[in-house]
Structure formats: C-alpha cells, structure tokens
Amino acid sequence: MLIKTQRKQEQELLFRIVFLLLFSFALVYLSIGVEAGIAIFLYPLGLSLSFYLVHWVWEITKYKGDQLLFSLAACLISIGLVMVYRLKPELLDDQLLWIVLGLMVLLLATIFFRNYHKLEEYKYFSAFLGLLLLVVTVIGGVQIGGAKAWIDLGFVRFEPAEIVKILVVVFLAGFLREKRELLSLPTWKIGNYLLPHPRHFGPLLLMWGLSLILLVFQKDLGMALLIFGIFLAMLYVATSRFSYILVGIILFLFNAWLAYLLFSHVRVRVDTWINPWLYLHGKGYQITQALFSLGAGGIFGTGLGLGHPEFIPAVHTDFIFAAIGEELGLIGASFVLLLYLLLIYRSFRIALQAQDEFGLLLAAGLSTVLAWQTFVIISGVIKLIPLTGITLPFISYGGSSLMANFIILALLLNISDKNGRAREVNER
C-alpha cells in the first residue's frame, strides 16, 4: 500500500495504524465478541480505508496540512473505536458513522474552505450564534446525566456547547486580533495602577457571562471550565498581560466558591473529589470505580477485553480513560497521554508558524481547546481535580464531540496548509 507520495510521513503512519486497528480488534474479538462473527473486521477495515481516502484526496489536491497532526488524530480515533467496541459493541455502528461523517466534513473543509480568513468577518456573528445556541439549550434542552446540555431534534440529539467552544475561539481570535493593542496598552488610571480602558472589556465580560450561563443554567461544569480556560489562554497569548490572567483566575475562584455554596451538584463534585471513599456506594461510586479500574490495570494492564471497566458508569464517554488505564496499564495510558501531547505540540507549532495574527490566535485557541479539554477530563477521572463531565477528544463515544473535534482538526490543518504554502514560496 506504500505508493510514491508527497505525504510520505502520513502514509507510513497510517499504514501502521491499520495494523494497530486490526490487531486490537482481533484481541477484543477473541475475548468478548466471538459470537458477533468475523464480519466485525469490516469496521477496522472500513475505518482504515476512510483514512486512506482522506490521505489520497489530499495527495491529489496537493494539500500542505500537517501530516503528523492528522496521523496522530487518526491514531487516537482508532484507539477510540477499539475502546467503544470493547466497552459498548452495540454503539460501534454509531461511532463509525460519526467518524466517517466527521472525515467527510474534514475533507470538504480542507478542499473547499482552505481560506480560513473569511471566519474573521464572522466574529461577532459567531459570538451571537454561540449565545443563541446556549439560550436555546437552556430553554428547550434536555437533561442527560446531570447536565441540561442537549438539544433533541428528533432524529438526532446534539450538544450545542461542543460547537459553542469553537465559536468562542473564532470570536476571540477575531476580537483579540483587532483589539489586542488597545488591550495591551494601559490608559485608564486608578490610583497608582494603569489599566486598559474599561470600554474594551465589554465583549470579554460577555465571555465570562457565557461560562456563567453554562455553569448555572446548564449545570455543565466541564464546558464552563473549558470555555473559561480558553478565554484566559487566548487573552494571555494576545496581550501578554499576566494581570488579566490573575484577575481572571480570581474571578473564576470567586465563581467556583459561590457555585459551591449555592449548588448541590457542585458540592457533590467537590466532596467526592476530597474524599470519595466516604461515599463508596453513593455519589462517590463512579470515581471510586474508576480508581479501582486504574489499580486493577497496574503497570502493564489486564489486556484488552480482560479487565472489568464495565463497573464504571458512563465508561464509554467521560470515563473512557479509566478503561484504557485498566486494560492497557500505566504504559498504555501514558502512551495515549504522549499521543495527546504530540498532537498538542503539533498544533501549537502550527500557531507558531502562522502567517498572520488571526491564524496564530485561531490556532492557539484551538490547540488550547484540545489541550485543556484533555487535561480537564483526564485529571477529573484520576482525581487530580474535581470531576467535570466532558468528553475525551477523539476517543470518547459521542457524535457532537467527534464532529467538533473534526472541525477543530480541519481548521488547524487549513492554517498549517497556508503555512506550508508560504514556506514553499519562500524556498523558491
């Protein structure tokens, strides 16, 4: 399957991913799925073929998007599909369908929408759309697993916040590119301190309000934390002003403290973080089961299909990392973390090489989404911080989250494509 190509790295890595997919499907097949029949191998083969199709189309259209970024994402997606097969075989069709749809979106975006700059014109529209989606969710949303974060369209349910996080990045990238100098220049004097003029703060307070809506009305702690993190990170990158971050963190801590006092669902998360063992059979059940899972895995893991991650509620979505820890062990879980770290490294690199400020800020924001979301959910699962229910990018089961990740991937690749073309021009 190795053909002369301009995207050699990608081709070689995808070739290895095919083996990873087939081998791990075979392991799970032998341990849990024999009765389903050999047809199950159509899934890894189908996914491999889809990856190659994307690769070939890029080859033909001379796409310059980062080869490693897509390969790393493909590897994580493959691990995700294997884990969904292992944990909830009945959801395998769903997951593969969403992945294929996502890959199609990725292809369309990378062929017809290479000029990401158009997004900058829609920055305020993005903010408006984001707010609208959230308000609609608050009014007409349905509650699943604690958070009222879903909209039911009858044939499909989706989680608007997944799209909102991208809209937020688009808005902030556009807004900060325009205002970043104003925001960096202190002109407003209070006592001995110089601060940027409050007039520029308005839209930023909007962001703060956005995360409050998420927190208060949707009970969606994970998304609130995510959006707040993106906001602070992008503000810092754009203005270099550490005082913003400090004020932001103080504001956040104040919010968190208020939320702890006011909302029982926040208290539950904090209590079960401080000492889940007190609530072994109640509210601490999920997190303690996850820790048992990690303990059972040890260094080398039980092996795919040989552990008991099924004791953890919601193991195929928010807690999928605990299942990886149990069956693949510390070694396997650390490798997955390293994959994420590489993915994040490549996306930050794209930001560094961006040809313009909007591209830099957009890539920085999207990289932060991936990094921060991965950190927040994994550290919640391993009890480093209180648990907030969000998905693990590319691995967790779930259509909205997968689709959002593919859009992020597409945007990053397009920025990288432009970087690549600029480099080519320079070399000539």
Partner: protein, 466 residues
C-alpha cells in the same frame, strides 16, 4: 505573541507530566490497596472465572476444595468443618475471608500466575483458570484427635513436630462451622466466648508454671545453680515486704531443682528469677520472642514476653513463675517445649509446606529452618529428665501412659477472669520426641487435673498407630 505561545505550551507540558505522575500513583503505588479494597468487585469477578485452588494436609487429604454445584457455581467444601476452621478459614462473598483462605487468597486464585501463557489463553477463550494448591504441614487425623480430646472445654491445643518445626495441629474452641456462617453470623460476632478467635495463635494467656522449664534451663545454662543445690521452701517467700506463696501454701521443705519442678515450687523459682535478673531472663525470652508468623500464613498475636525493661525483685519473681504481666499464646508454648525436646534447638515453626501450581509444579517449598539455639544439648537433656519426673511422680501424673515416656510440665495460671487456666505442655516419647504439645483449658482449674489428661489422650491416640 510567539513567546506567549511557548509559555502556554510549557504550561500544558507540565500539566501532562502531572497527569502521568498521578496516574503512576494510582496504578503502581496505590494499586495493591485498591485491589484489596472490599468494595472492589473485581476480586469476585476473578473468583467467578477461576477454579480456586485446594488446601491439603501433609498426607494429601483434602482440607478445602472447590466443587461444581448444581447451578454451575463453585461450592467450597471443608471436610474437617469446624475442627479446622480457625486455620483454613472461610471464603464468603457476604462475610469475607479468614484464615488461609484470606492470607493465601492471591495464590489460591492464581493471581501471581496471571501472566502465565496457559492462563492467558484460558482467559482469552473464556475457560476457567486454575488457582494454586496449598499443602500444609497439618495432620488431619491428629487435628481430629486433638479436637475430640479437648471435649467441650473452652481452650486451645497446639502440636508441632519438635525436630522440624512443622505444625501438626492447632485447635481452638469454641468453634463454628464454615458452612453455616449465614445462620450464625450475628451470634458468632456477639458471643462472649469469641468463637471466631483463633486461640492457638491469638489467645493470650499468662503461661503460669509452664514457664518454669525455661527458668530451670536458663538457671543451669547461666550456672547460677546446679542439680545439687538445695532450696528451702517454707510455703512462701517475702520479697520487699510482699508475700508470694506456693500453691495452697504448701511447704515443700528442702528440695533440689528437679524436685522443685516436680512440685512446681514457686518459692524456688522466684529465687532463681531474682538471681537471673532482667538481663538473664531476657536472654532466653528474647529468643522466643523472635518467633513470628512469617511462615504461618495465619495471624499470630504478639506475646509480651519482654514487657518492662526494668523489673523490681517482685516483678522478677512473678515473671519467673509465669504470672504478672507476661502473656503468651499456646503456639509459643508448644514451640518452647519443642525446643527443649529438640536438644535445645528452636526450630522456626511453619504451616505451609508447599505451594503448587495448577499443573502440579512446586512453586514454593518450605524446609525446616533453625530459629535459634535456646539451650545447650546438655542443659536441654537435664530439663528433659526433670520433666519426665514431673509426669512420673510430680504434678503431671495424669498424663502418664504405660510403656511410653512422656516429658511434661503443668501450669495453673491465675488470671483476672475467674478460675485459673489449666496448662499442660510436654512431648513424647521423651527420648525420641515426635510430638510437642501445649494444652490450655480456659478457667479449667489446675493443669494437673484438667489439662494433663487431655494431653495423655492425644499421645495415646496419636502415637499408638506409629
């Protein structure tokens, strides 16, 4: 802005390293305690997919084994039932595990064999894995004999092979049936007589006069007396204004060491205790204190033989006659008398003889190990001769058997819980010892009348077939 990007990435790099650190904590450092947590359902999942290994006695007789029940579940069968439950233990999803079933759970489930190719293949194709088997030093017949001999008394018996340190029998009464935990659980836990307690290794009693064999040996070894010295016993001795009496205030007159042991004269041993001093006593007690449960697999309570760094003469005298604060277990006393039987050599007691993998391969094999030399062979032989006389003409007469030389020592241990505890420790045949035994009957009265006959019955039944 590019500087800021690099700083931001460094921050995430640090955060991810933190994740790996925390992950390593749960998966390596905290893993054993997570796996052992009773709320962890995995142990029982493993139990379902594993044939639990069997437990066998020294002759290969079954002590515990898993059988298929009608509904295709595993049924744990204990042929000795309540006679050996304190050693073997029980294995219940509801009530937990005890005894060897608990302490060797990992081996019985074959957890350390998890990595073996065969078990890996079994787990992949869904066949039941097999755990490992335990082979004990226990003698199932002797266990039965001793259990019967103790009758309806509350108390305990420990029997070891003095030459090797193999534990042959451990009895604790009252007992309970491992098959009827459900119907008796509440009662077992609230019963004043503590049936769940394994008295042989966890019952702490004052050793009383049985400790005098150690004092006699220590005195001879240290040369602070000899066989010829005569002690005067008026029936009591006054130390620092406090009176210590012989049993029933009996005056024994002019007696030597051997006679003092025969009649268990407190006055003589109080004097020897004071002569030995705390250092002299502790030289010997500390050797006994070293015995631990490392080769037992069942919990051993700490004796406090060495309690108190400094003792007044009154304390020394009390310790020498096995009273005061000194407490010990039947297991310790059997080991002590075993050391005297074995020419003064204390063997390290052990209960697990072999651990075998499911295909019969020996994984662990325990061999006799010398723990320490308690006395020289000469001194040990002196003490043996004195102990023979205790049984022939002294307080242990009720342990006598025609045609079999028995060495022994009785004890009547005063305690704050009512009537004295009756002790007998000894071994037989005295010049070719095969069994060393410690018998205690709680609140039974005097050792000579209550405990000695029990030892006699055991020797009679156990040695006649040999």
């Amino acid at each position: 802005m590019k500087d800021n990007l690099q700083k931001l990435f460094t921050l995430f790099l640090g955060a991810f390293l933190l994740l790996i650190g925390q992950l390593a904590y749960w998966q390596v450092i905290a893993a054993p305690s997570l796996q052992a947590n009773p709320a962890n359902q995995r142990a029982w999942e493993l139990e379902k997919s594993t044939w639990r290994g069997g437990i066998y006695d020294r002759y290969g007789e079954i002590l515990a084994v898993s059988r298929n029940s009608d509904n295709n579940k595993q049924l744990r069968i204990y042929p000795l039932g309540e006679e050996a439950v304190h050693i073997i233990g029980y294995n219940s999803r509801k009530y937990g595990k005890s005894g060897l079933e608990a302490s060797y759970n990992g081996e019985l489930l074959g957890i350390n064999e998890e990595g073996s190719i065969r078990n890996l293949v079994y787990s992949v194709i869904g066949r039941k894995k097999r755990g490992q088997d335990l082979i004990l030093t226990l003698d199932n017949k002797l266990q039965e004999i001793a259990y019967k001999a103790l009758g309806n008394h509350r108390g305990s018996i420990a029997i070891i092979n003095p030459r090797t340190g193999e534990i042959l029998a451990l009895i604790s009464k009252p007992s309970f049936s491992p098959d009827q935990l459900g119907s008796q659980w509440v009662k077992l836990n609230t019963d004043k007589n503590s049936p769940l307690l394994n008295r042989a290794t966890q019952g702490l009693y004052p050793p009383g006069s049985t400790l005098k064999i150690l004092i006699a040996g220590a005195a001879l070894e240290k040369g602070i007396t000899n066989e010829k010295e005569l002690f005067h016993c008026p029936g009591y001795i006054i130390i620092n204004g406090r009176k210590l009496s012989c049993y029933n205030n009996e005056a024994h007159g002019e007696i030597d060491l051997s006679q003092a042991l025969q009649v268990s004269c407190n006055v003589t041993f109080a004097k020897l205790g004071i002569r030995l001093g705390i250092n002299g006593l502790n030289d010997y007690l500390s050797k006994m204190e070293k015995l631990d449960d490392s080769r037992l697999g069942i919990f051993l309570a700490d004796s406090n033989l060495l309690k108190g760094k400094y003792l007044s003469p009154n304390g020394l005298a009390e310790r020498a006659i096995g009273q005061g604060e000194t407490l010990t277990t039947p297991f310790y006393m059997a080991s002590l008398v075993g050391a005297i039987a074995n020419n003064g050599t204390l063997m390290k007691p052990y209960l697990i003889s072999e651990i075998r993998s499911s295909n019969g391969k020996i994984i662990t094999k325990n061999l006799p190990i010398k723990e320490d030399q308690l006395f020289s062979p000469q001194v040990a032989q002196e003490v043996v001769k004195m102990m023979e006389k205790v049984v022939k003409v002294g307080t242990g007469k009720k342990a006598q058997i025609d045609g079999l030389d028995i060495a022994g020592k009785t004890g009547t241990a005063e305690n704050p819980h009512g009537k004295s505890h009756a002790w007998f420790i000894g071994f037989a045949p005295s010049q070719d010892p095969q069994l060393a035994i410690a018998v205690i009957v709680e609140n039974g009265g005097t050792g000579g009348t209550i405990a000695a006959p029990i030892a006699k019955e055991i020797f009679l039944n156990a040695l006649e077939n040999k």
